[in-house]
Amino acid sequence: MNSLARAPLRAMPATPRDSLLSGRDLSLSLGGRPVLEHIDISIAAGEIVSLIGPNGAGKSTLVKLLLGLGTADSGVIWRAAGLRVGYVPQQLPLEPVLPLSVARLMRLTMRANRQEVLAALSETGVAHLIDASAHTLSGGERQRVLLARALLRAPDLLVLDEPSQGVDFAGQAELYRLIGRIRDRRGCGILIVSHDLHLVVGAADKVLCINRHVCCDGTPEGVAQDPEYIRLFGAQAADAFAVYTHGHDHHHDASGTVVPEGDGGI
């Protein structure tokens, strides 16, 4: 089994009917080096798609193409008409010399009254920070404020680039539960970028694993057992993931290591 043999199965529907945002056959080279090769991706309303891959796999680059922050060398990007996107960038370094309160950060491009800002902050559990300085937030607080900021736009699609960065482990699990609740409540589509499958597995409906090209995609359970995934991340990663889905499959050896079919020699 290899990625070439599986490629045709990944073909997208000719008309992405219920898709909010999709990219088809996206390729990009920077300085003569291929960064993305023939990537297909689609996010539908009410769906949580996790984009995973090792560092330098091109995840953030792909997200930027989808958001219109760059142009692909080839391929097509399709957006639903009037699509409102709430974006949480990977990093938001704030210039300390620019005085900025959380309330002001929330309202940078949105005209909203205090009640609306409070409601959005409440949804992510940080309403008490409304008058705090945006410069003194902890990692977890900042991610929640940025998430609330994206929600304030009443987005059809949330795009979260490494949302658990700078968040401690307990906070990460809670953050992903929160993201799941947001989807349930609002029915928006969500694209999460992460370097790590086992972080996003609780929330994701669909996983797309890339390393310049699409390595594998499908359900979190399916991807975890994919030889391409195990080759990329090592058996340890699959093992860590298996803890979460214990009982969903039985492809473990005696020590608990996942044994994908047809590749028993880990």
Binding site: Y87, P89, L92, P99, L108, T109
Partner: protein, 266 residues
């Protein structure tokens, strides 16, 4: 101390420039463009000469050349082989040297020092009309684009995803800088214009809780520096431009003491 017409004109002209430089200088500080502004100002001398050669008012030559330099710099920035620091250093000194050579080749005698360090006490009524006319345009434009420009200053990609036209705003801001440099040259000279932009803004930081408050405080500190510097230059018989800059620097030190090195919340 005798208050004469030329001293009053100097006060009025300096006050006008301080009012423009306050808010604009805040953006220079927030966007970390101090050296960028310096490079634009250094090229202004070349603009003066070109303006003279073409028989127009020097101000048009200055606007044209500084805007050209700003455009060149920002297009370099897209595909940087050298750090922007190096590029700015090269362009700043190359254009200044070109300007100095061009001045020396002029048939007419030009008071070089007045262009380099300002000649505030020689300000004419025409200069004052220019300062207040151009200043009104700059401040009105800045007020119009304030919100999106601030959003883009906090994070450019986030602003772009949220519909802020970042390219147009960047160009617009550079044009405002070029206009300010053209009218401020007479006050402090090309070598000290950046000081008038960044020192009052930096001094305002410890006293401000919002971006708008910082701009307002920067104007007040700028006005105080102009008044203090001018009276100082009269009292001690020192050059007016450098005296204003020294006064502003003293206010900056004072603001550090008041803020005890801490920024105000926000």
């Amino acid at each position: 101390m005798m208050i004469t017409d030329f001293f009053l004109r100097a006060l009025v002209a300096g006050a006008g420039v301080a009012c423009i430089a306050g808010p604009l200088g805040c953006f220079v500080v927030w966007r970390r463009m101090a050296y960028f502004g310096d490079t634009m100002a250094h090229s202004a001398l070349l603009g003066v000469v070109l303006g003279m050669l073409f028989g127009s008012a020097p101000i048009f030559g200055v606007i044209a050349v500084t805007a050209f330099v700003a455009l060149t710099l920002s297009s370099f920035g897209q595909r940087a082989r050298f750090s922007s620091d190096t590029l700015l250093g090269i362009l700043a000194h190359a254009t200044l040297s070109l300007g100095l050579i061009a001045v020396s080749l002029l048939a007419v005698q030009v008071d070089l020092l007045s262009y380099l360090f300002g000649e505030l006490l020689a300000v004419s009524m025409v200069d004052i009309y220019w300062i207040y006319g151009v200043g009104a345009v700059v401040l009105a434009t800045l007020a119009t684009i304030w919100r999106p420009l601030l959003a883009m200053t906090v994070n450019e990609e986030l602003a772009q995803v949220e519909g802020v036209p970042v390219v147009q705003l960047r160009l617009g801001f550079m044009l405002l800088m070029a206009l300010l440099i053209a009218v401020a040259m007479k006050i402090v000279g090309v070598l000290l214009i950046t000081a008038l932009l960044i020192i009052p803004a930096a001094a305002a930081r410890s006293l401000a809780r919002t971006p708008e408050m910082m701009a307002g405080v920067a104007v007040v500190i700028g006005l105080a520096s102009v008044v203090g510097g001018l009276y100082g230059s009269l009292w001690f018989d020192t050059p007016s431009g450098p005296s204003i800059v020294v006064a502003a620097s003293l206010f900056f030190c004072l603001s550090l003491a008041i803020g005890r090195g801490q920024f105000a919340r926000g």
